[in-house]
């Protein structure tokens, strides 16, 4: 008998971002090349490491560690294999041992510890890499003790508002009821944010574990993960992960042999940005139009179907297993001031090295954009950075010293939000970006309150008039007034925060409104969604 060649393990990410630049073709090419040279290949479709400029990043397991090659195109694979890919040999695309790359080493990966490392749907991998430690410890504690642990960790809602998670959990725990819900808001609609998607695609059991801990802590028996329809891969991965977790007894009745019962299901959104607002999401889960609710009552007391409901963002819930596993103190020791623990920053837009940087709060905006990001992809100077999604402020490079800290950003007229950082080079027309903020609000407003529904449309018109040079002073005053009304009078953050990008553009780049930087293009219609006749 001839000796059997031992198989080599090769990782090619199955993450949507990697697939958008050809990872599926690369994976096929690796298998073909392995067959060609008689090398059995154990191919794993992992999540992404978050170094998106290197995608598709192929990793080969060697005795030295996992050696990376990227960005790899399918056409590169045969040459790579002939050069010795399967033994981690030298090649111009070789980036070295992935775990030792400066980008990785300098991060504080708590939430993203397993993303890109493991096979996302392997329960064995999950356990081998520390999975369920948090849930097991939580189940040894009373709900009150778990809530206390989350409270003392200093964890705040990662969805954008930064509300202390422990306070919310305590409120739900304190409500009576045979029926309470735990809901995960995975309607990650903010431009420039993709961490929710990446963790759901790359480490779905982590979210399940976080939700099971939450269910134990607040007394919820049913849960929903509300995922936007723009994320079909995350929907599919989460659904499969829930089946696997239920089969293993991590969900369902008698979780891990305890008395905890918690069933979880995925709900798919309908392409409405506003459903990322928690009360709008609850309406949508109830099968209704995603119109925001007036508060009070708060969802913790009267939420889904009128029952006490915990609503947390993906990154909030996925922070919890580490807090429970390693204790609140370890988490609390990271960060600055009242922003504790880590935040998963997402670098996008016109950036050379885009991707995910999980760092303790306190890292400066400049470090993220310049050191991690390496400046713009176009090679031109950075002119503005929008932090925190479409409702976040545009920040000029002169403010790159700002530390990532909820209060420090707020004091500077900006917000950390969900941690998205979108970079623009010096060709950007900031009047056009301000107009877009209003246009986006007009397209995505739920329509319930007037300042948002009407104000946003008026905002587009006023900015158009300013840019056209019509009664500039009067229209500037009008725009200011409109921003005041939207900020103070809107029911939720959609209308309430849309003035933030507009005002920051005016404050830092006011000249763009008065002397248009580029030839005006034909304006796009306000909403190009097909309109439906009324019944």
């Amino acid at each position: 008998m001839s000796p059997v060649t031992p198989s080599v393990t090769v990782y090619v990410p199955g993450d949507s971002a990697a697939r958008s630049v050809g990872a599926d073709d690369v994976a096929e090419a690796v298998l073909r090349a392995g067959a060609r040279v008689g090398q059995p290949v154990h191919l794993v479709r992992n999540g992404t490491r978050g170094m998106l400029w290197l995608e598709p990043l192929v990793e080969v397991v060697t005795p030295e560690g996992r050696i990376g090659y990227g960005p790899v195109e399918a056409d590169d694979v045969d040459g790579l294999v002939d050069a010795g890919l399967f033994s981690g040999a030298e090649h111009p695309l070789r980036v070295g041992i992935v775990d030792e790359l400066p980008w990785m080493v300098s991060q504080d990966r708590l939430t993203f510890a397993r993303v890109g490392v493991v096979d996302p749907l392997s329960a064995e991998d999950y356990l081998a890499h520390g999975g369920l430690r948090g849930l097991r410890r939580a189940l040894e504690m009373t709900p009150d003790e778990v809530v206390e642990e989350v409270t003392s960790s200093g964890l705040r809602g990662r969805g954008g508002a930064g509300f202390p998670a422990g306070v919310k959990w305590k409120t739900v725990l304190g409500c009576d009821g045979p029926l309470k819900f735990a809901c995960c808001n995975a309607d990650e609609g903010d431009s420039g944010t993709f961490a929710d998607r990446m963790v759901m695609e790359g480490d779905p059991f982590l979210l399940i574990e976080g939700m099971a801990i939450a269910a134990h802590a607040v007394g919820a028996t049913e849960g929903f993960v509300y995922i936007r329809s723009e994320y079909p891969a995350a929907v599919a991965t989460m659904r499969t992960a829930i089946e696997i977790a239920t089969w293993h007894g991590w969900l369902g009745d008698g979780i891990l042999g305890t008395s905890l019962n918690f069933s979880l299901q995925v709900r798919v959104g309908g392409g409405a940005y506003i459903c990322g607002e928690e009360t709008s999401m609850l309406e949508s889960l109830e099968g209704k139009r995603g119109e925001v609710r007036a508060k009070p009552p708060i969802p913790a007391v009267e939420g889904l179907f009128g029952k006490p409901t915990l609503v947390n963002n993906v990154l909030t819930l996925t922070s919890v297993p580490a807090i429970m596993a390693d204790g609140a103190a370890a988490f609390q020791s990271l960060g600055v001031e009242r922003s504790r623990g880590t935040q998963v920053f997402q670098l996008g837009g016109n950036i050379r090295r885009g991707g995910v940087v999980e760092r303790a709060f306190g890292v400066t905006l400049g470090e993220l954009v310049q050191e991690y990001g390496g400046g713009t992809r176009s090679g031109r100077p950075v002119r503005a950075v929008q932090v925190g999604g479409p409702l976040g402020a545009y920040v000029p490079p002169s403010d790159f010293g700002l530390r990532m800290d909820y209060e420090e950003f707020q004091a500077a007229g900006a917000m950390v939000g969900h941690g998205g950082v979108v970079v623009f080079d010096d060709t950007v027309d900031m009047a056009a970006q301000a107009r877009f903020a209003m246009e986006f609000c007009a397209a995505e407003s739920c329509g319930k309150c007037t300042p948002c529904r009407i104000g946003s449309t008026r905002g587009v018109e006023v900015i158009d008039r300013i840019v056209a040079g019509e009664n500039t002073d009067e229209n500037m005053a009008l725009l200011e007034d409109l921003c005041d009304v939207m900020t103070d009078g809107s029911l939720c953050a959609m209308g309430g925060l849309t003035p933030l990008p507009v005002r920051s553009a005016l404050a830092h780049f006011g000249g763009d409104f008065l002397e248009p930087r580029i030839q005006p293009r034909r304006p796009l219609p306000l909403s190009t969604a097909p309109r439906q006749e009324t019944a």
């Binding site: 949507s16 971002a17 697939r19 958008s20 630049v21 998106l52 400029w53 990650e188 609609g189 431009s191 420039g192 944010t193 993709f194 998607r197 049913e222 329809s229 723009e230 994320y231 079909p232 299901q265 798919v268 959104g269 309908g270 392409g271 409405a272 940005y273 949508s284 109830e286 099968g287 209704k288 139009r289 995603g290 119109e291 179907f305 997402q346 670098l347 837009g349 016109n350 950036i351 885009g354 991707g355 176009s378 929008q386 479409p390 979108v422 623009f424 950007v428 970006q433 877009f436 986006f440 397209a443 995505e444 293009r521 796009l524 190009t528 097909p530 439906q532 006749e533 009324t534 019944a535």
Partner: protein
């Protein structure tokens, strides 16, 4: 999100009946049911609305209100392939506006248009979660990153030819 080929052979009433039967036990079942109908037929036909209202004990206005609120639900069939161009900020910063212009200049199509031969529908979308590798375009179910006008031409031409 259409993940399977529409099955136009089935009548609206059959699809509504099957979708309701499969999903009505869920809490707040209307959205999952509408997704199922659109997956089966490619759109949510007007005649489905009174059927759904009747079966779910809702008013027609309630059902219509939900269908018309969400961008995903179509009142008429789209082209064979849907091309969605991301117009959110991160993709704007790397040139998605040029892609919109390109579609208009080369194909004479505005966002929301369906080609007269029914081959493609071009739409805008606000964020596909691929913000570090933009501009992003979704063709059918597949995501494409770092799309420039030349790449968009290839994607659209092959979608039209398919």
């Amino acid at each position: 999100m259409t993940t399977t080929e529409p099955q136009p052979g089935r009548t609206v009433a059959e699809v509504v009946t099957d979708s309701v039967a499969a999903l009505e036990g869920q809490r707040g079942a209307l959205l999952p049911i509408l997704h199922a109908i659109q997956e089966a037929l490619g759109y949510v036909p007007r005649e489905a609305i009174p059927e759904l209202a009747e079966r779910l004990n809702l008013s027609r206005a309630d059902v219509h209100g939900v269908v018309s609120f969400y961008h995903d639900f179509r009142s008429e069939p789209a082209g064979r392939t849907t091309v969605k161009i991301c117009r959110a900020e991160a993709c704007q910063s790397v040139g998605s506006t040029q892609l919109v212009d390109h579609v208009r200049d080369r194909y004479g199509m505005d966002l929301g248009d369906t080609r007269s031969d029914g081959a493609i529908t071009v739409e805008q979308v606000f964020c596909l979660g691929n913000c570090a590798l933009g501009p992003t375009v979704q063709v059918g179910a597949r995501l494409h990153g770092r799309v420039d006008p030349a790449k968009l031409t290839r994607l659209i031409d092959s979608a039209v030819a398919s």
